[in-house]
Symmetry: C2
Subunit: 409 residues, 2 copies
């Protein structure tokens, strides 16, 4: 009954049969014995729909090609070798990570060109430098002159060159230099002229896209993201700073961007799974969501039209979701076990191992008895997926594989 | 530099030297070589203050003794053998868990009497029944007649007796039967009269205590919790249902309860670590908090008085905290690396691996440079601790042990 039954992991386990490629045609998988069905899984369980992942990754790959930019997908949403291989199919193979633990894991998995897209503090440089020796390239981010000094010193001491991006704030106001300041140009020049550093260029993340209300608003953010970066690169080049890469990326902006002239590289990540927030802000449709959490009804309270499920904050995360678009969104979208929407159902509260689901109508006799299954689409798949040690990979309702994400830092 | 250095895990590792006992006197630990200091840890890192855990667990143990109730502490906040041993010191040794994975882990760790305090769905019964054979007692919760049938059938088929509590709703409106209904009495009677079930009694959790604004309000909830349960037990006894246990428990109500006459058992859990929410609602003082997350400054933005730290939603959780008491609480309390409060600092936003800290005053030149360390006390320690595979256990700023929590389901 538990998902990690040995029978699944031996002969029944679906394997990538042609290196990095995967077929999305069912016929080619007809040989696969469906040892485990979704309803056999212990709950809560993380579910990944393989065909939807394959479609999402193909579409983003085609989109990047059509826009004329290199695709360096972010792997932080799923943190698995298998999904990352689908992301880079047909592209140059570079990826983006959010932790050094991810960098080491994907390096061990055969990825050779990795950007660690969180500003690095000096204390993490020894580990990053060691890792960079095992890769074709590990690029680091910085936005602070103290860090620039430390990175240069680290490279000099070890007799290596470290690849560096200057992180730019294009309006998210989280990390990055202000592209309007002379200090920012000076910092780029200082990094670009160091014999110990390989200055790759400039990099940004339009995180403000997640605060948009619809695709039209996101489109404006996408244009701004591009314009700020292209203008800043121009300013740097006029100051004789060589800028090879102009790297941008967020799933919402990439989903709607129409023209990325001047941009060289994009780094979307969430699109592999998507989630309830991406649907609400117009980045995708419900059928594009590849990740959900299987839960069971463990309590039934008709007098208050509520069900209790065994997916709580440790299975779904407490991300508040797109409350700026839908104040009553609750903690995720409620689907049947087969993945069909259940209109009007809302998850009104989460505690550690409990989720309370409010029904729109009176519960009729026998409706949703204890033991009933639901799939919950989380508000934020990056945070929910990270709560699981394994994903049950499905085609329709058959479990065809198990993927193991890396975790920690 | 990484915490899991082999040197720490070999000769330097602090071990419990007398079975379940641990000394809280520093002198007895003077032999311990401080191989790792807090400032040597990779970030983000989960920190546990050993002396505070020992004090919190001693105090709750004394409190339960003084109130004349058995202590069956909940272990879901920390999920470690080490802290659970401290919790049961001087008591009968029973514990409470929130997942079957915890039940199996603590069973393997020598705990013999475990209550799984989440309503069990039929699909989890085979695993629970198997586990019950390895324990003196595994008690299950139910509040639904369909489940009562399934538990009885499971016990009958296997030729075992399963221990059962009836879960009661004392006002939290999450799980449990309504103690005012005849159906609830009938369900207790039906379980109590089964030859295959060992009906232990009634159990509740006053989760509404977390919505209180101060200790006075919590005290009223605590009295209500006790009164509802004692009255319901009386009703059951008048209906000839034997009720051995009246089990209550939440850290806030236990922290303030003055009289638990009639109650037999208490199940607090969060008090081992406490957190920012417990401080806000009056359950504890700041110095009672034993859990925090060590983070490093990775960005510095004086123009908006902000710092960026490497503790994001995957290190702190997105629990909104005690917004009903302090709407501006942000995502945790900011302390120095040594554990002293930094007044006015607020964590205003979290993304996956980034936390934005707003400072109350302008950042002066050189103040909090990149690399500076903070400890963040999370809003909800249960959710934050579950994000880590290991805790660095400290005495003052020396790392004296590493605890490994169980995770998953």
């Amino acid at each position: 009954m538990r998902f990690h039954s040995p029978s699944l992991n031996k002969s029944g386990r679906y394997r990538w049969r042609t290196g990095f490629s995967v077929s999305t045609s069912k016929d080619t998988l007809a040989w696969y014995p469906a040892l485990v069905r979704v309803e056999d899984l212990g709950t809560p369980a993380a579910l990944v729909d393989l065909d939807v992942v394959a479609r999402n990754t193909s579409r983003m790959g085609e989109r990047a090609s059509r826009l004329g930019v290199r695709l360096r997908p972010h792997v932080k949403t799923h943190k698995t070798i298998e999904a990352a291989r689908l992301q880079v199919r047909g592209h140059f193979g570079g990826i983006t990570v959010s932790t050094l633990a991810e960098a080491a894991f994907f390096a061990a998995g055969g990825f050779r060109d990795i950007t660690y897209a969180v500003p690095i503090p000096p204390a993490k440089l020894p580990e990053a430098a060691d890792l960079s020796r095992r890769l074709d390239r590990l690029s680091l981010l910085l936005d602070d002159s103290v860090v620039a000094d430390a990175v240069e010193e680290c490279a000099r001491e070890r007799g290596i060159r470290l690849s560096v991006f200057l992180k730019v704030d294009c309006g998210a106001h989280r990390a990055g230099v202000d592209p309007g300041l002379n200090d920012s140009v000076a910092l780029a020049g200082r990094v670009g002229s160091s014999p110990h550093l390989d200055f790759r260029g400039i990099l940004t993340h339009a995180g403000q896209s997640y605060r948009c209300r619809d695709a039209q608003e996101v489109r404006a953010v996408a244009a701004h993201e591009r314009d700020v970066m292209v203008a800043f690169a121009g300013r740097l080049r006029r100051a004789a700073v060589r800028v090879d890469e102009i790297s941008i990326g967020s799933t919402p902006t990439l989903a709607v961007a129409e023209d990325l002239a001047g941009v060289t590289e994009v780094r979307p990540g969430n699109y592999v799974f998507f989630d309830a927030t991406q649907v609400a802000i117009g980045s995708c449709a419900l059928e594009d969501i590849a990740f959900s959490v299987l839960v069971r009804v463990i309590g039934r309270y008709p007098s208050r039209r509520e069900l209790l499920v065994d997916g709580g904050a440790l299975a779904l995360s407490k991300d508040p979701g797109p409350v700026h678009v839908d104040p009553g969104c609750g903690f995720g979208l409620v689907l049947t076990a087969a993945g069909e929407p259940v209109p009007g159902m809302r998850i009104i509260s989460l505690s550690q191992e409990h989720g309370v689901v409010r029904c729109p109508h009176d519960l009729t006799a026998g409706q949703f008895p204890v033991g009933s299954l639901f799939r919950i689409v989380p508000n934020h798949s990056c945070l929910a997926a990270a709560l699981f040690d394994r994903y049950a990979v499905l085609r329709d309702c058959d479990v065809v594989d198990e993927w193991r994400p890396v975790r920690g830092w």
